[in-house]
Symmetry: C3
Subunit: 132 residues, 3 copies
């Protein structure tokens, strides 16, 4: 069974916390012990794990990612969103979580984020749970 | 069973699409539902997922990665390929795919790429399928 | 069963090889064939795979990461460690290894590293093995 999570972004570059949605998918799977793959089915988005306490952390992250990979930098791709494609490969399309007692094993400050790099858009994340 | 895919690069920095080879390995495994780990067994290469429609996307990506991590930047490693090692860790040695009906669940434009950062060389990718 | 590995860092930015500790966890699991997820339960750390032969490689990598994501760059997060959070998402919180004959399938020069980006600290890595 594969769980699909819909995400709606409201900015061009935005990190949206999806920890609650992922926890819900794990509960629906009924799996107590194993791993879960959280996958962004898009080439201009990504999935990452980072701090969910102070919103300035994700604000600093999107600001710095825009400095590291400028929106315009002599790219040739005619759609004009090459920076989004590059950020997607740097952050990565998926995260793999460890599950214990039906919950993801996350550190105190860790939250799961869908990273929008070419929004605003309606997006799809997939969650696959493997028992073990 | 572990599937080995040989990749031959023809440039120093190059992204080579391997989606067809990964699909073939999944078919050979006979697994209909589960996950697959695609792993680059090299410290100056990586695996990523990105757009496979317009070749300018991977061209922009290799150009920008060479800007972010310049080939020469005061590195000490005597082999002279530190930039390749750093790109390898930024992009990452593996990707994990979700499998349904024997096929990887990829978005419309997503292709799987072997990233060569210190070519040209003959390289090896491993694919391991877990049923579940 | 989840294996916990304690890591003590001694610098602010440091890559600590943990290949031997991960191999030990795999042996303790008794699993001969499958995959293993190595996960850093922290938002200012990461896990990566890179060369463990010449120590200059990890020295060049930490130097270059500090150039790409400067320690101070107009960040707002009041703890002052935004650069560490950003590096964590660029390198990634986990690596997934392929296991054969009870050992991780690594290339000749590949070692597993815990990446400290906000040390020195006492840290925790988790290893989860899935048979298959």
């Amino acid at each position: 069974m594969i769980h699909s999570i819909e995400v709606r972004s409201s900015a061009q570059v935005e990190m949206i916390e999806v920890t609650a949605e992922v926890r819900r998918a794990l509960r629906q799977s009924g799996v107590q012990s194993g791993i879960a793959v959280v996958f962004a089915a898009h080439t201009t988005a990504a999935v990452t794990i980072n701090e969910n306490a102070d919103p300035d952390v994700v604000r600093d992250m999107t600001m710095e990612l825009n400095k590291i990979v400028p929106l315009n930098d002599g790219y040739r791709h005619s759609e004009g969103n090459s920076a989004a494609h590059i950020k997607s490969s740097l952050v990565g399309a998926s995260e793999t979580l460890i599950i214990e007692n039906g919950e993801p094993l996350l550190g105190t400050w860790q939250g799961i984020y869908f990273c929008e790099f070419d929004g605003p858009r309606r997006r799809k994340m997939l969650v696959k749970v493997i028992e073990g």
